[in-house]
Structures are given as C-alpha cells and as structure tokens.
C-alpha cells in the first residue's frame, strides 16, 4: 500500500526573500532522504508562506523491504574462537556461520538478513536533523544558549503519514496533527489532513500556494484600476515580496494629494516602493498618478481604516521628502564639494573629496568633455544631502536631480544621475557618453584604490562590491564602446579583472569557453578588439577547415615546446626543401595581407601535407632549426587573433 506524507513546519514570520531558497532545500533534502532510505515516493508539492513551510509527498511504502547481505568474518584459519567472536558480533551463534571461498582463501561468513524498518520510524528519526539542516542566511536561537538554531522560532509541527502521526520533537515542539491559522482570519488551532490540507488552511485564512496568492494580488490590482485609465507600474520583485509577506493578500487602492507630484518622480516612487512596499500607479502616458496600491495581509478593509492609515503614513513620508528636497536645494550643489572632505570613502583610502579629484583626472585622461568633467567633480555631492541620508537608495539619482534643478545642462546632470549604473548584470548602462565615462572612472578608481589598500575580495566576501564594480567596468567598455585599457593596474587587479572578463564573455555573452580562452590568450586588455576577434572566431568555427587547422596549431605548439624553441628569428627561404615545405611557405605568403577567414581554406591542406611528408626533426641541424622557425612564424601570424591551440577539437594530435 502506498501512503501520502504531509509535513508542515510552523514558524514565526520568515523574511520574504529567504523563503523560496529554503523551501527548495527542504524539498531536495527530503527527496534525497526518501531515495536513500528506499522509502519510495516523490515530493508532490512544496509550498510556503511567511509562517509555514509545507511539503507533501506521495507513494511512500509502509515499510522498507528486508535486505540480505553476506558479511565476511575472520579467515577460517583463525580458528573457532575467532568464529565465535564474529558470530556474537553478528548477534548469532557459530553454527549459523558458513565458510565462503574467496580469492584470498576461506573465510567465515554470515548471511545477514536486515528487517526493513517502518517508514514512519525512519521519518521520525530523520526529520529533526533534516529540518535543522536547512541553510539560512542568518539564524537565531530562542530556547537559550546552545539550543537549536533556525531562521525564526519553530512554533508547531505537523507530520502525517497517511492518517498516522509521525512523532518527533524539535526544540521542545512535538509534531502533531494541529496546524495554526492566519493570525487574524484563522483559528488558533485546527486539525490538518493529508488529503485536504490546502482547503483546511484556506478555511483558516491561509492561501498556501504562492502562485495563487500572486494571482490574487494581480487580479485585484487590475480590478481596482479597471475603467480608470490607470495601470500599476510593473514590478515583479515587489510582487514577489508581497506574495511572501502575506498569507492572505488583499490589494487596496489609496491616493495622495496631487500637490506632491511636483516632487521628482524618482523620490515618490522610492518612498512608495522601498519604504512602504506600495505599487505605484501610472496614467496612459506613463505619468505618475496620485495613487498607490498597498497589499494587506488580511481579507478586507470594511471601514476603510487600512487605506486611511496607509495614506496618512505616506503623507508624512512625502512631507519629509518635500522638506528635504526644498531644504537641500537651498544650498548651491557645488558648495557641498568642500563637505566631502569630511565624508570617508574608505578609512584606508581617504575621503570622497580625494576620490572625486582622482575620478576627474581619469575622466580627463579619457578625453571627457567639460560636462563629463564637471559631472565627475560634483558626482558625490549628494552624499551630504538630507535626502540621501534618509533615502540612501536615491544616491546618484538625486544628485542628478539636484544638478538639474540648479540649471546644469542635461549632458552634465544625467551623467551624475546614471553614475551607479549598471546596478546589476541585467541593469542598463548609462545612456550618455558623459555618463559612461563618469561611471567607468568612478568604478575603476574604486577598484584601483581598494586593491592598492589591500581591500581585495576573498571567496564569498566582497564587502565593497568590487566584483560588481569590475563587471560594470567590463560592460560599460564593451556595450558602451568606450576604449579603455585599464591604466595603472596591478598584477593582482589584472588577475581579478581577467576573471571578470572571461566570465562576461563566457557566461553573459555566451561564447564557447574554448573560444574565449583562445582569444584572450592573444590579448584581452583591449576588450573591444577581444569582442571583435571572438565574433570572427565564432563565425569561422563551423567552416570545415577550421578545427583541423586548429588541431594542427596545437601540434605545432607541442613540437615547438618539445624542441624548446622560443626564438622569433625569421626562417630562411633558401633552406626550404622543394615540395610540401616550399608549398607551405608559398601558401603562407600568398595569404599575406588577407583576412583570417580567407586564409584558412588554402592553408589547411598545405599544413596537413607538410605534417604528412616532412620530417621536422631533420638530421641537418640548420634545416631542423629552419623548419621550427617556419612553424613558429606561422603560429605567430595567427596568434594576433587567438591562440588556436586552445580550441578543443575532436581530432587528437
């Protein structure tokens, strides 16, 4: 008979962003347990809310199958005493042993029959460890020093195999049949069944399925705005958060006084999104509307109290923002530059004032125009504004807005506005040339000065987000077409950056790893050239002559290496032997000045023929040396594009 299994881990509110990864781990570990212990069954469902992780599995067997195993004991020559000892250890008597012939001789042996254990017993034994093995970003203890750790206190546990309770205990909580409802909408306790748990939870104010919660929110958002010529600004990340901070989400529409729409849209959206978790609302033209959508963790707002309360909070927040905006704008933006002397960029590196000076110099070196230079100079002034102190996510953006409000031209203020872009792998790079230069110079300065000060990322530790800075540098150079050759780079930084370049072309731009390696071996400092060469190699890779030629290049490289040949002297034409050797020379010279793509076809048969007919290791040392020089020069000519010996080919050489 096959049985279904239900597990519910009930906790206090888990941070929304940790829930999905934890649920995935739980599911994987549980499936692995079923498989390892031969309990049969598959995880059929894994769902979570902020207060519960729930697993359902189906098709578990009642009891493990019995197993037979032949256990070898001491050699027969060890005598009856040893046999008795072995028998005792096996829980039997000597007369139950038999003698087994093996390649090493005769041994006492015991045919051990292990009884399969009941599935319920295995689960009861294994589940506490399994649950506590879930990896969380930060854990706590709640029962006192040295007790179990979890993300938040575990308050109840449900574990049912069919209709039977699977008994175990974690941190003083015994598993049972009783679940706990939504804090406001549900009963404090009620029984769950394997068959009907989702409906039983829903009757107690808990929508277990995350996708159902999300759909409920999305449907209600549409409903609230229907017929109003408004739409919610799409925001999948926020929607995810709202789905996982609620057990019973319900969307409500609120409004604010349209006088606040004079404030920059970025400020309003940040206040709504980051501080209040509201979706913002736009009209058909994409202008911000004086509305917001809040998602409650309850069923209804019958008296409008929740809407009223949220509107009141937002009003206070917007008033603060207005105060900061007006107050900050009373001061000339560039007068703040002096204050940056007192703002530390990094204790070992110095102040933001000093950093700004270096960034300006770098922008000049890159031939940035006066707008780019001025943007660089004032790029960090917003760090001293009240607005950024209160709403740190707005740094850069609000600096650009202050510069704009104070009459700076767009080329200048937009460069400040965009200086932290790209903020992620998918994020946009700055939209203007000036913006790209400022962002690039800022990031490059951060990398250079942190590495100089020994602040180098190690393993998963990267407190100054230098990997992200390096990735930004690479993306701006390549995607923004900014020629940049990484001035003043230490060997350590070069190695670090090289990894980011390789990662970018391989994992982001999806070039095959061997082509990336081959092209980078021919030089990677000029990323624009690198990208062009990658495109070329990618294009010629499928042509029939390419891989065989690449294989020959690998062979040439090996020959030169074995011969210890490292000279770059030219070969002498008069020493070439007529026939395949001379033909190879002619084929090489015939291709002079032609692009790689045109040379591969004619060259490949000549190279093959050469290896087929000509003995590199000629008895005459001059001839031998000349042949090595010929091969070496062939290799050199092509290696300005890529080191083709890095290409992985089918043919073995």
């Amino acid at each position: 008979m096959s049985l279904p299994f239900l597990l519910e881990i009930g906790t206090e509110e888990i941070p929304d962003w940790m829930i999905v990864p934890a649920l995935n781990q739980l599911q994987d570990m549980f499936q692995a347990l079923l498989d390892q212990q031969g309990m049969g069954g598959k995880v059929a469902q894994a769902e979570a809310t902020p207060r519960r992780l729930v697993l359902k599995a189906e098709g578990l067997i009642e009891k493990q199958a019995d197993t037979d195993e032949l256990v070898l004991g001491p050699p027969k020559s060890a005598g009856p005493g040893a046999a008795a000892g072995f028998a005792k250890k096996m829980g039997t008597t000597s007369d139950q042993l038999r003698v087994e012939s093996t390649a090493k001789g005769e041994y006492f042996a015991f045919a051990k029959r292990s009884q399969g254990q009941p599935t319920a017993a295995i689960l009861a034994r294994e589940l506490p460890n399994l649950i506590l093995k879930i990896q969380w970003p930060k854990t706590m203890y709640w029962n006192g020093k040295g007790t179990e750790r979890f993300i938040r206190p575990i308050r109840w546990l449900v574990a049912l195999l069919g209709s039977d309770l699977v008994p175990f205990e974690i941190a003083g909580v015994r598993s049972g049949r009783e679940s706990v409802g939504h804090r406001i909408l549900g009963k404090p306790t009620f029984p769950l069944t394997v068959e009907n748990f989702a409906a039983e939870l829903e009757a107690n104010g808990v929508i277990l399925s995350a996708s159902q919660r999300r759909k409920k929110i999305e449907g209600e958002v549409d409903g609230l705005l229907a017929g109003k010529a408004l739409r919610a600004k799409p925001d999948p990340d926020l929607l995810h958060t709202l789905t996982y901070i609620t057990e019973f989400p319900t969307a409500i529409l609120g409004g604010f006084d349209s006088q606040y729409l004079d404030l920059p849209r970025e400020v309003l959206v940040t206040v709504m999104r980051h501080h209040q978790k509201y979706l913002s609302v736009e009209d058909a033209q994409g202008n911000l509307a004086p509305n917001f959508i809040a998602v409650m963790n309850t069923a209804a707002d019958p008296d409008g109290l929740v809407r009223h309360g949220n509107e009141r909070v937002l009003r206070a927040r917007f008033n603060d923002a207005r105060f900061f905006w007006e107050h900050d704008n009373k001061r000339k933006f560039e007068d703040r530059l002096e204050d940056l002397k007192n703002v530390t960029f990094q204790a070992k590196v110095g102040s933001y004032f000093e950093k700004t000076q270096r960034v300006v110099a770098l922008v000049k070196e890159l031939n940035g125009d006066r707008h780019a230079q001025r943007a660089a100079l004032l790029s960090k002034c917003d760090l001293t504004t009240d607005m950024v102190k209160e709403f740190t996510d707005l740094q850069g953006i609000v600096g650009g807005l202050y510069a704009k409000a104070q009459g700076e031209p767009e080329a200048m203020w937009r460069a400040i506005y965009d200086q932290y872009k790209p903020t992620s792998m998918e994020g946009e790079i700055p939209s203007t040339v000036e913006g790209r230069l400022v962002s690039l110079a800022d990031k490059w300065d951060t990398l250079r000065s942190c590495f100089e000060a020994g602040l180098v990322p190690t393993g998963s530790k990267d407190p100054f987000a230098l990997r992200r800075a390096a990735q930004g540098v690479v993306r701006i150079v390549v995607e923004g077409r900014v020629p940049f050759e990484f001035p003043g780079m230490s060997a350590e930084l070069s190695e670090f950056l090289r990894d980011r370049v390789e990662y970018y072309f391989r994992d982001v731009k999806q070039f095959p790893y061997d082509e990336v390696r081959a092209c980078m071996a021919a030089g990677w400092i000029d990323l624009l050239s690198l990208e062009a060469r990658l495109e070329r190699v990618k294009a010629i890779r499928p042509t029939p002559d390419f891989e065989p030629l690449a294989a020959s290049f690998k062979r040439i490289k090996n020959i030169l290496k074995q011969a210890g040949y490292a000279s770059s002297e030219p070969y002498r034409a008069n020493l070439l032997e007529p026939g395949p050797e001379l033909e190879l020379h002619n084929a090489i010279r015939a291709g002079d000045g032609q692009p790689l793509e045109a040379r591969i076809g004619p060259l490949r048969p000549k190279v093959d023929l050469f290896f087929d007919k000509v003995l590199v290791n000629a008895p005459d040392p001059d001839v031998r040396r000349n042949r090595l020089a010929l091969l070496s020069s062939l290799l050199q000519e092509f290696s300005t594009i890529a080191d083709f010996s890095e290409i992985v080919t089918e043919r073995h050489t």
Partner: protein, 293 residues
Amino acid sequence: MTGLSFQETVFRLKQYWSERGCIIQEPYDVEVGAGTMAPETFLRVLGAKPYRVAYVQPSRRPADGRYGDNPNRLYKHQQLQVILKPSPADVIDQYLGSLKAIGIDLSKHDIKFEEDNWEAPTLGAWGIGWQVMLDGLEITQFTYFQQCGGFDLDLVPAELTYGLERLVAFLQNVDSVYDIQWTPDIRYSDVRYLEERQFSRYNFELADVAMLWQLFELHEKECQRLLGIKDVVLAAYDQVLKCSHIFNLLDSRGAISVTERVGVIARVRRLALGVAKAWMAETEPAEEDKVVA
C-alpha cells in the same frame, strides 16, 4: 478625540504587562538614546536569571530635534520598553493582545511582521526580529536578543519597543505628534513643545563643544576607575550612559568628523563591554562555583 489619550494608552499598556508578570519600572533617570540602554534592559538581559519588566523610557536623540517644527520628529520621544526573559512561546500573541488592550480592533486593520534585525555596536548587542507594521506604520520594534555586551545570552529575551508618540498619533488619527491629546484636555504640545524648541537650540547651536569633550573624558576615566573596584558596576554603567549621551550631543553639534567617529564609538563600546563583563562576574557564579544539586 478619537482613541485613548496618551496617558491612558500608557496606563493600559503598563496594566496589560503587569498582568503578565512584568515589574513596572519607572524611567531610568540618566539620559539614554533608547530604552534598551537603561540598565533594566542592558544589564538584566545578561545571565541566566529570568526577568520581566516594562517601563516608559524617554529617549533623547539630540540630532533628531527639529525645534518643534516637524510633525513627526522629536529630540526626545517616549518608548514603552518590555523585556520578557525568557521569551514565552506565545510572545507574539501576547503582543497582539496588548494592541487589543489599547483599543485596536485587529479584524479591521492590517498587521505585518517585516524583517528588521537590530544591532547596537556601542553596546556589543544584536538581535533578530521585525518591525511591526500596522496599516503601513511601524509601531513596534520586536527583537529576540542574541548577544549583549559581547555575551551570548543564556536565556533569549524578547524585547518589545513601542514608539508611543507614533502609536498614539495613529490611534487618535492626528497628523502631528504635537496634536496628540495627552489628556482629554491637554495636548502633547502643551506639555513638550518648549522642551523640543529649547533643547534643539541647545543641542545644535549652544552646547559648548570643548566642555563636552572634557566631560566625555572625565566620565570615561571615572568609568574606568570604577571598573577596577568591586560591587559598583551599576555606578560604572551610569558613566557609560553619560559618555554615550555626550557623544550624541557632540554629534549633533557637528563636532565629530567621520574619522573620529569610529574611534569614539569604540571607546564607548569598550566601556560597555567592560561593564557587562563585570556584571556577569559579580552576578553570575562561574561554572565551577555552582553548587551541584
């Protein structure tokens, strides 16, 4: 007036927690920046002795002063601080019960527990918890203490910190804390406006920076001296609080550069950790001294 008066709210919360075994303490009479810093929290959470206490703590944050002009920002605000050590398993239900006790019908509101861990580097203290959001307004900080004064805590206390002005402004449906009815006849501004205005002036404009630095050093020395003497750890801790408040004053005067800041914080922290260590040594018998039952 809708909702309870300010003082009635305080009475009810104190009554509620008193019924749940809390000592109702009076505010600590040395300036602190938060209820956590009062010895009733900072010292009592240490060690293996259960403790339950609730008190209103006026909390001074000089840099937050706005001369009485800002409807939501105050130089001094009142926190209702509750410590339940160890935290009971139904601590959140008890907390929700306290909201009902002050007239909040939870079936008509939206309550959420949003991740917000708490850390106070100057106290060597941190905890795990939430900000409790009522209709989008943060009304309480809820923390399971994990470490204090650099010690892992033997019993995990739950700390509930209610921001009273915000909470009551919400209950009374007023946009400015100054419009809160302290009693049915007297407004918050009648009680506190002058204090906000005058202390903002003092904190931002008048406090004598040279004198404050001298005071800081005097209190620091006194603390160090007391830490070398047995059985006066409470007096030593007062000196830590003095240093911490003077640091905040210097900060609001703009007298501490970013570079200095880290160093001064470290000095206060050293004192706080020293006090925690002395407290533990004097109140918690070391393992080997415990009588085996």
